[in-house]
Symmetry: C2
Subunit: 432 residues, 2 copies
């Protein structure tokens, strides 16, 4: 299976560079666990020996942790997600700073496939690393940290001397019509998003970071997620959601730095300079009534999204990436893309864009209904939620035909911190 990770910035890319296999082995040895190298499917598997990797062979499943931006935002979506929202219980600013320093070190190690802490095997202490990812490849793990509004101020209290740094954009989302939010899926002081092509690797990351936080933070809520697996033929396709429709066709192009600077990355001068190169993350836990959906006709389903199911093309169009003509009429003189179709309302006047990075979830049965508890952990990134997600969601919450089939159960907003370079730590611009 060929994997094609992509780094969020040119600065942080180690791909397509020559790498000494001896160095790779050294690195692995330092962590005490074998680091496996997933080579290109075409190039064949690397044999681990003491030679220099020849031109054209590349390391394919490590995504650099350090860089201008955090990874896991413009990174090509991995197959699995483990997402945790934490409540901070630390008693002081110093404890909180230490936590981010410890997290940075551990996260950087894990994204390289290394264990947390040393691995000397002192039998009279608990192991520093919990061990379940030993021997597993780095699996394109990214770990992305964000901070929520109440880290800055909670019930009027400036908990960690951060109140003055709170960006005005960082606050609870407004209540949207039809929201059915439950506290257990809402908010959080800090979020950690761990994405990887192996769920055991994602879980291991969150578990070890939560463990490092003992006495300083506790889990508020957590969610696993999955999406359509990258396929053996390496063809990149838009993933399908649990309604069977392609999801994310109109995402901005993560390859284009200027587009990302306009839409995703917070810029100096936007209001909170310490957040420059970070991004606002909106998370919504959207339960999908799949049994109800499954009883709807294909026509209803396609009218709901405004797209053809099989091709993903806008209604009345042929190909997934055709530019939608919202003035187009069908054979009855009605808009080909109905006025209450999800894609039309999301598009609006075309002025708002967000970078969607959602995962499906399946949590067994919903005991209230006897139906599947399944849906979407909607995650998006943007430079300014007030100009991007919020107006879009206001349109959708009022009129979207999709609302017949979904309910929003959870909501949170986090400011994803800027990246950091080796020697620094995630959050250093916030605390300095």
């Amino acid at each position: 299976m060929e994997k094609k990770p992509q780094s969020s910035t040119e600065e942080s890319s180690i791909f397509d560079k020559k790498v000494s296999r001896r160095n790779v082995l050294k690195t692995a040895g330092a962590g005490g666990v074998g680091m496996l190298i997933g080579a290109s499917g075409i190039g064949g598997l690397l044999s681990l020996s003491d030679t220099t990797v020849t031109k054209g062979e590349t390391i394919k499943d490590v995504i650099p942790f350090y860089g201008k931006h955090q990874a896991g935002i413009t990174t090509e979506t991995q197959n699995h997600l483990y997402f945790a929202s934490l409540e901070v219980t630390a008693g002081s600013r110093e404890e909180l700073i230490q936590l981010f320093k410890d997290w940075t070190e551990a996260a950087a190690a894990m994204t390289e496939g290394k264990a947390v802490g040393d691995h000397s095997g002192n039998h009279f202490l608990p192991p520093k690393d919990t061990g379940e990812a030993a021997g597993l490849s780095p699996s394109n793990l990214t770990i992305t940290f964000g901070v929520g509004p109440e880290l800055f101020e909670k019930n009027g209290k400036d908990r960690f001397g951060l109140k003055g740094k709170k960006p005005k954009e960082l606050k609870d989302l407004p209540k949207f019509p039809l929201d059915s939010l439950e506290d257990k899926w809402n908010g959080g002081d800090i979020c950690i998003q761990a994405c990887a092509d192996d769920l055991q690797v994602s879980f291991h990351a969150i578990r070890n970071l939560v463990r490092i936080a003992r006495g300083k933070a506790v889990i508020h809520w957590a969610q696993t997620g999955f999406q359509r697996t990258k396929q053996a033929d390496s063809k990149k396709e838009t993933p399908r959601n649990l309604f069977g429709f392609k999801d994310g066709t109109v995402n901005p192009n993560v390859q284009k730095e200027t587009e990302m600077d306009q839409q995703v990355w917070i810029q100096s001068g936007d209001g909170a300079d310490w957040l420059a190169d970070g991004s606002y993350m909106v998370v919504r836990r959207v339960q999908m009534y799949i049994e109800v959906w499954d009883r709807s006709t294909l026509r209803d389903q396609e009218n709901t999204f405004g797209r053809h199911r099989d091709s993903g093309a806008p209604l009345g169009h042929k190909n997934e990436f055709d530019k939608a003509d919202y003035n187009k009429k069908d054979e009855n003189g009605q808009p080909a893309i109905p006025t209450n179709a999800h894609m039309r309302l999301a598009h609006g006047d075309g002025k708002q864009q967000i970078l969607r990075r959602a995962y499906s979830y399946a949590d067994g049965m919903d005991p209230q209904t006897g139906s599947f508890d399944a849906g979407l952990l909607f995650i998006c990134f943007q430079r300014n939620p007030e100009k991007q997600f919020i107006p879009m969601q206001q349109r959708l919450a009022k009129n979207d035909k999709l609302n017949e089939y979904t309910v929003h159960k959870g909501s949170a907003m986090f400011a994803c911190l800027p990246g950091t370079q080796k020697g620094g730590y995630i959050g250093d611009t916030l605390f300095s």
Copy 2:
């Protein structure tokens, strides 16, 4: 990533045989979705063209549905599980038979990467297939059906004329000391185990089978599971559980037919001849207190399992697969493998074996404790639970040191039906 599926019987194996790519494409076309072929990592990717596959190239991600035995029992464990326990609501034996016929047809199609039903796209009907797996590879999907005790008799009532066929082994497990079972994770009339290397493919399978059962069966409980992903270097290693230990080292050898006939497959003359070539499945939902575990010393952890964490070797031994010497003493004259160690108690006098096929689960946070709701969906197969799982578990439930760190929340037993050949249906020996 090389995948090495293995079929449960020689009879049903299509691997390592010549396959016409034209036929593969035809098959895919019939289902209306592209079927991707994951070729050997060494051999490179197949290009889909009209030529005969040359010797040595093999189809790597379809596991045959039809055969003497059901797949998903002795099949090499895939990366993901979606497990559903169902309550039957069908009003008649005929409805139930029709359900198994419909399930057989749909399951056979899905394991080949095809959609359920035709795919003609009549806009005035709900689509027959829910669509989220369109374009995904078959992903080594296996679908395994089992029947629980109450399908034969419930509250003294012979629901479907099956009472006379109930095997005496098929009944609720005895209550074990320390069990903390919850109805919501217990029992079921029918189970469906869908394993695949892609969770979206597993989910799609269960969802579509539950949909086909509308009016005849409803979900009682459902659980997703994962395990250590097959690695890029194709080296087969024993997976690690969420305590970081290798799990399943002493499994019987699924490659040896005689061993499987002794330990796993029900034989003619065992009592219920209609079940010959089937197997009894025991399912236990075991919550793991990972935060408590993580505070234990490495010595405690190793003494708990009776194995070294890193190597998986029995304590006092060097390699994972060393035959454990239970008489060996440590430097203090104590048993190297403690008397209450999990592996010693599971081994007992060595007379019982089971085929373990467990998956880890991570269901977010346990609201009762604020800890991870994570653990093991323990699944095992055997020819006779009264001689295999039950005596083992009776020893473990009493004395296992692991009990300090785990609690059994769910329990079920199912008789996994024999396999069937094309033209037959899963359950035909039960109803004939």
